[in-house]
Symmetry: C2
């Protein structure tokens, strides 16, 4: 099919889906956006992207408040926060059971197998890893501060490596013509585990310690802890047949130490009292490793700590109602 | 020696040393208090104890600003916070090398062997475990809210059990006559490790999670984590030849769940921006277990997290000077 006849659907028009969908539409593709809160505004005024690569507006977009009105598309981008995945079954257009390529731009591990459960066998599922700093502004506005690349790989049962297929090459072409730096990976599982190598220690510890990346790699104790956690990610990956070389660990510690201090995405969610993406970053990786008999005490402990912190963060206060804390005996 | 001729020295006249020392003096013993900040005030006005068992004043006490002026005593109580143990060498009266029984009322593990290094071989060293809620008020004032018992055991090299010696019986007699509920333990090491069974999870997690004991044992994830940590304490103790039965673990979880919600002593120190007793609660136990080849990942991780939090808590802020945190790529 000629490129300009390609139709995309975007499920979740936030900082990721809104940004990439807008780039695709600007490049001449037909894009259908599913929105919730901002629907009326976007239907009237379109989308506005403030980008370090140049601002642009799309005065008219196909805005949908329900997936039922989205016509059959060639590609469906999934760009919800993984914490809202319990909505997926209702948000996916009914025709995806039989039509369209699914490309998830979500974080962490386990998002592709979850999609596979929701559609008929044989549907093509791709995973996309976004390396981008962007956030939502006013209704219909997205701010793109930095980076913006995408790495795409094909998903096979249990993250079995699928190689670089012709379909992936075609997809990469679309994205590159839309001005998105695009990489292809023959092994989506490796790419996802390698991203976890960073996300597990730095997203998690940034919330527990209220620290920036620079603080975490500078302080000797937390640097050691970050390395210990990375080794557990290596063990978890190995339990799934994915070999992460130790040079990846060292290189990632080094590059984190030399980059500008960052507030991680999980810390940003925490500061905004949003739910944390714990299942995708910790829960699912822990569960698949546990099924292979691999115990990961540090990651388990992080998961336990963060579940507690997440719950308290999103609820009113930390006090136990009706009880007055006393001082403990020494 | 008749009881009323006994002389006590108190090194560290705070919430613990001031309280117990005052009780001893009130019962007729001669007590010498070493003080720093409050010395002038206490020398002039004495000590005032506000206690749930009845308030009392000691208008005249022997107050010393330097240990050099303390006469030779029969018993030296060590009641410094363990975080100030680097001062011990200077604060112990020179005559303790050859005279007097040392009785440390400090928290955690490793305080007795530390004392043993500072005195000549053969000095009697006893360990006391205080179960008390008390805190300092205005200069010379101590508030005793709850509990107040003391458990004493004799220290032998490597915490080898010493049994209940006649000396311990004599000591217990002194304390009981001073109105202190006193227990004797034949195995100081077991008593110290058993106290760690509670202190390791609940002191530590209360700071990391900013939670009360009730919250920690009520939430299923943190209750599991507390139990996992207790099992590591069991392993550490076992590496030192100390058997902590699993019934101790279950009983402690149960009693913590049924008692009133507590702010632990470490959380209180943290909230007052005081140094945390990390070495006595985590560092020393981890070090002796490591020397026996026992790795304790959860306790190690707690130690790493708390060292970071402690340092940041006591210093001005959490920002890295001159650097502006950016937002991390997703």
């Amino acid at each position: 099919m000629p490129r300009h006849h390609m139709r995309y659907a975007v499920i979740g028009t936030g900082a990721i889906g809104g940004f990439y969908g807008a780039k695709l539409q600007r490049s001449g593709l037909e894009v259908h956006f599913l929105l919730h809160n901002d629907h009326a505004h976007v239907q009237r005024h379109g989308l506005k992207i403030y980008s370090k690569d140049g601002d642009f507006s799309l005065p008219a977009v196909h805005a949908h408040v329900k997936s039922a009105t989205i016509p059959v598309c060639d590609v469906v981008l999934i760009a919800l926060k993984t914490t809202r995945n319990y909505l997926l079954e209702d948000l996916l257009p009914p025709w995806v059971a039989d039509h369209g390529i699914l490309l998830t731009l979500q974080n962490g591990l386990g998002v592709e197998p979850r999609l596979a459960q929701l559609v008929n066998p044989g549907r093509v599922i791709l995973g996309g890893l976004c390396f981008i700093c962007s956030h939502r502004g006013a209704p219909g506005e997205i701010h793109h501060q930095d980076y913006g690349s995408l790495t795409i790989g094909a998903y096979g049962d249990g993250y079995k490596p699928q190689g670089v297929t012709p379909l992936l090459e075609t997809m990469a072409n679309h994205w590159r013509q839309a001005g998105v730096e695009t990489f292809l990976t023959p092994d989506l599982g490796y790419a996802r585990w390698k991203k976890l190598l960073w996300n597990v220690p730095f997203n998690s510890l940034s919330v527990v310690l209220s620290a920036t990346t620079t603080e975490m790699v500078t302080n000797p104790q937390t640097r050691t802890l970050a390395r210990d956690l990375m080794e557990e990610v290596q063990q978890a990956a190995a339990s799934q047949g994915v070999a992460i070389p130790t040079t990846d660990v060292e290189q990632m510690l080094h590059s984190t130490a030399t980059m500008a201090p960052y507030v991680t995405s999980m810390k940003r969610d925490y500061d905004h009292k949003m739910p944390l993406e714990l299942e995708a970053i910790l829960g699912y990786p822990l569960a698949v490793a546990r099924r292979k008999g691999v115990a990961l005490p540090r990651m388990t402990m992080l998961h336990q700590l963060l579940q507690h912190m997440d719950r308290h963060n999103r609820h009113s206060g930390r006090e136990v109602p009706g009880e007055t804390p006393a001082v403990a005996p020494a």
